[in-house]
């Protein structure tokens, strides 16, 4: 196997425990790290089966990819910084999630390793809708066609699915 031009590592978090995760797919050979977040788990009660379920998710993706996968327990930004350092990585790849913790961890990592380029991949979406949201009903009216038919269809012919199925 030839070494990639840029040394890369992947951060896998609890929203992306699949070998199909966009960041993992972009870097199939790169070392990847999952961290059980010690400060979070010290502060927030979480029952063991939830953590075992996540472990099984990491174990499954580790078995299905070419690159090595590591699991650690600690502070997420600290462990990521150490992991990137140990692998002399110039880039860290991750798939975005919308939790407030994600932004906090990325900021922490940037502060700890200003030289490390953080490449954020976008998560998969069910719809292409990007407007403001308030209630589900209004959202559903805007995305109904796309969801029911499986394709974004701004110019979809005005032949409703309702007619088809009745």
């Amino acid at each position: 196997m030839t070494a990639p031009q840029v040394r890369r590592v992947v951060w896998i978090h609890g929203d992306s425990l699949s070998v199909t995760d966009p960041a993992l797919s972009a870097c199939p050979d790169a070392p990847a790290l999952f961290v059980f977040d010690r400060p979070f788990l010290q502060a927030v009660p979480v029952a063991f089966p939830r953590l075992a379920f996540m472990y099984q998710g990491v174990r499954d993706l580790a078995a299905h990819r070419a690159g090595p996968t590591e699991i650690r327990v600690g502070s997420v930004p600290d462990e990521l910084a150490a992991f990137a350092g140990a692998h002399h990585a110039a880039e860290l790849h991750v798939t975005r999630n919308f939790t407030p913790d994600f932004a906090r961890i990325v900021d922490g990592l940037r502060a700890a390793r200003p030289d490390l380029r953080i490449i954020i991949h976008e998560p998969e979406r069910l719809t292409s809708f990007d407007g403001p949201l308030r209630r589900f009903f209004g959202f559903w009216k805007k995305v109904e066609r796309e969801v029911l038919h499986g394709e974004p269809a701004p110019d979809f012919p005005r032949r409703g699915h309702r007619q088809e199925r009745r």
């Binding site: 089966p49 939830r50 600690g74 939790t99 069910l126 209630r135 589900f136 969801v147 499986g150």
Partner: protein, 260 residues
């Protein structure tokens, strides 16, 4: 930085509770045990492929054929797109549309989280009734000894299975917030502790939907509703003083102080 702890990525299930339990000592609640459903994309794909969606029209009944895929979707082990594609391929008509619509709630809540950020962890709107909620979860609720067979069963399912049917979640949330006067955040925290699908978006926003801080009116049910959708599971033999046995109009006055 505390001592680095590393775990091998290939522990077999029979060693998992002991080894992971030791590595995470002091960082979890309850006993180290395997989850009621196995995690991982391989397990998630098997569950998806086995699911035909037949009978999903009865999804509001506890015995209805719901997918139980939420824990895989929660952790990205399955994607919303592939689950939607599967539904389009194997389901038909109204049942398929209904399932795709439910799946779209998950997309909606994720996008609301993207829009609102950490604000989803506080009231997004004022409650739609004069609510005086207390912040702590009562012990009898946490320990499943409220004396109401239905409510105790909901908590037992939550802790034992790490999963509850949507209707059980709705009933439990309404019971806790409207009948017991507990702030929805205490219920959110209990769900986050135990649900295999527990997250921020679906969990906090569903609680807010019930509480009426992210909806136009509070969600509530009565005994008839519980009896019907549970197939009489608890009500038939129940001897408890039932707080739910009344008409919707009566309950509305009692709980929210409004005239029917």
């Amino acid at each position: 930085m505390s001592d680095p702890v590393r775990l091998p990525p290939d522990l077999p299930d029979d060693r998992l509770p002991r080894v992971l339990g030791e590595a995470l000592a002091g960082l979890y609640t309850g006993e180290p045990r395997l989850p009621a459903r196995a995690g991982g994309r391989t397990a998630g794909l098997a569950a998806l492929q086995a699911w035909t969606g037949q009978g999903y029209a009865g999804r509001n009944f506890l015995g209805g054929n719901v997918s139980r895929l939420s824990m895989y979707l929660r952790h990205g082990m399955l994607g919303l797109r592939e689950v939607a594609a599967h539904a389009r391929a194997v389901m038909r008509g109204r049942e398929r549309d209904e399932f795709l619509r439910q799946l779209t709630w998950a997309e909606f809540y994720r996008l609301v989280l993207r829009q609102e950020g950490a604000r989803v962890l506080g009231n997004l709107e004022d409650p739609k009734y004069p609510a005086r909620w207390v912040g702590t979860l009562p012990d009898d609720v946490r320990e499943a000894r409220t004396g109401l067979p239905c409510a105790d069963a909901w908590v037992t399912h939550l802790v034992r299975d790490g999963w509850m049917h949507n209707h059980e979640r709705l009933w439990f949330a309404a019971y806790l917030v409207h009948w017991r006067g507990v702030d929805w955040r205490a219920g959110y925290a209990l769900f986050r502790e135990h649900l295999l699908d527990g997250d921020i978006a679906n969990n906090a926003l569903s609680w807010q939907w019930v509480a009426s801080t992210f909806s136009n009116k509070p969600y509530f049910m009565n005994q008839e509703n519980i009896d019907r959708y549970s197939g009489g599971r608890w009500c038939r033999t129940c001897r408890a003083e039932c707080p739910f046995r009344a008409s919707y109009g009566e309950l509305e006055t009692q709980l929210f102080g409004t005239q029917p």
